[in-house]
Symmetry: C2
Subunit: 384 residues, 2 copies
């Protein structure tokens, strides 16, 4: 098998509107977050298989011969199931129930590697995304793994050609396998966003990519307040059960926010973008942030985020599970507004938060020539 | 005619839930606010009619003979109409369109005095309520005027007996006339609360007094940020027209908040009051405050009120029109909670706000013996 070296990136994910409401049958809008995960695959001929994940201090090398037993077991399996995951866990010596991010990253690597590849290589991954912050870092990783192995083995074309829908569907289906290993029962939204980019409408388990959306500049802030998605989802459910007549209309209103936002974003792709478009997007963000507080997933750290950015004329909401975690702040196009990013980011960092200037709605998985990737990222990928 | 001196008080009004939503056909709960207006009526035999309203720097005396012409004109009129108000305005020398609080207080006095009374007297009024803050100060004044004249002339009984429903209806109907002179087209809620006290359910123009409600301790805060109710009502209407699918569910949710609150308050009168009751009341306050922000009647001064009180574990919402104005903060019964009032009031005053520790749901119009009224109030009433 001829192996091509390759360099892949995939974006993270943010929920623009509809987090939590989606659990109760309402629309959610998931968007690509242009904090990207980069993966470099290099063939090697010394019979070694190495993976370097410096974000999570994970560096592992196996001899090809060690992996042989797993390959044959995998070939016998019809599909990814508990037995296989158990076997992979045994192989890497994990016996307890909970997987940390390092272990689950190794398991996902092994599964996709063994399924699609089989010879010596080094895979190095560097992500701009914080891990475990609800920003789809594991999906971006799985998408990169799937695309890299499919590309390196010639199953999908090289970067000189854009990937077609069929290629993307193949990448997405393998990435979904990786997500299953990492998360057990993922919705499939994160890997779809990592693959297609742009924006997805998510409703009652159905994922519909939206054809065209504008690229929106944002600040992404991580309050670093830890939270459990499971606990927060349960809290919302309890609140709906406690006050159904009060809460059900709020979910309906959130649904209407998602639909209104989708409509405005679609308009922005077919008519000249004006301040009015941004006024509406900002109003929707403010309203939804209030609703998220009402359903019980706010947090003082998120209130602070909203206040600090409001003091600069900017509008923020939590994204994802809430109760801490991350928030997004909409920025206007540079030509439409004075630049307030630098000052705002300083204010947010002074609160102890991590903060990135980035964008949502950008491209999904991509191949790169090394020369088109930021030097500091190539430096990290080539370090190992 | 034998004239009895009398001493009357009536409470102010706060909206507990449903402000603005009531304009769109939803339930509102209006409650008596135990910041009271006190009126002392004393007969005099020197042929003078004097009114002293030190809160608004208004001190007027007429000769009885001057008022004779008005009495005969009033007797000819079938009902309170524009012609009569015009005649009263001419009498006191007001020609321009807008009435200040002093002028409208004098007009209301003259109308009720001429309708129900006719001999020499001094009426002195002192109110604990701020004027023009949406707290029903004009209604409390009108209720006091009506009750005082009806009582002084023997149309309703003296303080040794409680007033019956019929007496209260008579007071309320005259107070409503006073409100019409002051406000043009009042809803009738403020004078009903001033008369009956307790809590009223207000829906589609219908006012239903609730039989029993618990007395709730609150802080009443006046941010002193001026606002126009008319402008705020129009703003809400515009927002509903702009985002109907988002806003109409929010009004439904507000409606459910009012109904849930009414249910909890009713329960509190028939079962032992627990912390759980207060937990729910606090949750409803927080949710409604978010909804009021969503419909566009919030204000940074109200956000500050909420934050300052939240820092002490207390829950606040705006009351009335919003956009500044007043807010209420629920306090727990002294035996259920540590005392945080003093510190909270200091914090709020440090923000430049006026702040009172008072209660809602207390009695309506009352007669007093001078000995049962706070000394400082009697001192003010007797000064003139």
């Amino acid at each position: 098998m001829e192996v091509r070296d390759c360099l892949i990136s995939a974006p993270g994910k943010a929920i623009l509107h509809g987090e939590h409401a989606v659990v109760h049958g309402k629309v959610a809008l998931a968007v690509s977050l242009n904090l990207r995960t980069y993966l470099q695959l290099k063939a090697r001929s010394d019979g070694k298989v190495c993976i370097n994940l410096p974000n999570i201090d994970t560096f592992v090398c196996w001899e090809l011969s060690e992996l042989k037993q797993l390959t044959s077991f995998l070939r016998e399996m019809q599909r990814l199931d508990a037995e296989l995951v158990k076997r992979l866990r045994e192989f890497i010596g994990v016996t307890n129930g909970n997987l940390d991010s390092s272990t689950s990253a190794i398991l996902a690597f092994l599964y996709i590697y063994l399924s699609l590849f089989g010879s010596g290589l080094t895979v190095s991954v560097w992500s701009e995304l914080p891990t475990g912050a609800g920003l789809g870092s594991s999906a971006a990783y799985s998408v990169c793994l799937a695309a890299a192995f499919l590309c390196a083995t010639g199953n999908i074309p090289t970067p000189l050609k854009e990937w077609c829908q069929e290629d993307l569907e193949l990448i997405n289906s393998w990435a979904f396998q990786g997500e299953k290993i990492i998360h057990g029962n993922p919705s499939g939204v994160d890997n779809a966003v990592g693959t297609w980019g742009g924006m997805l409408r998510f409703l009652a388990g159905k994922i519909i990519p939206l054809s065209r959306v504008p690229l929106l500049r944002i600040l992404l802030t991580n309050t670093k307040v830890p939270r459990s998605t499971k606990v927060l989802v349960a809290r919302v459910k309890d609140k709906i059960n406690k006050f159904p007549s009060i809460m059900i209309p709020v979910l309906d209103s959130v649904d209407a926010i998602s639909c209104t936002c989708e409509k405005v974003l679609t308009e922005m792709t077919c008519e000249p973008i004006t301040g009015d478009h941004y006024n509406i997007l900002e109003e929707l963000i403010d309203i939804n942030q209030h609703h998220l507080n009402v359903i019980g997933v706010g947090h003082p750290s998120l209130d602070t985020l909203c206040q600090v950015t409001a003091a600069r004329g900017l509008h923020s909401k939590l994204t994802g599970a809430g109760g801490g975690g991350c928030g997004i702040t909409l920025l206007r196009p540079v030509i439409l507004s004075p630049s307030v990013e630098a000052g705002t980011m300083k204010d947010l960092r002074d609160c102890g938060y991590d903060c990135w200037e980035t964008s949502i709605g950008g491209p999904g998985v991509q191949q790169h020539f090394p020369s088109s990737v930021k030097e500091e990222i190539m430096e990290v990928l080539n370090r190992y």
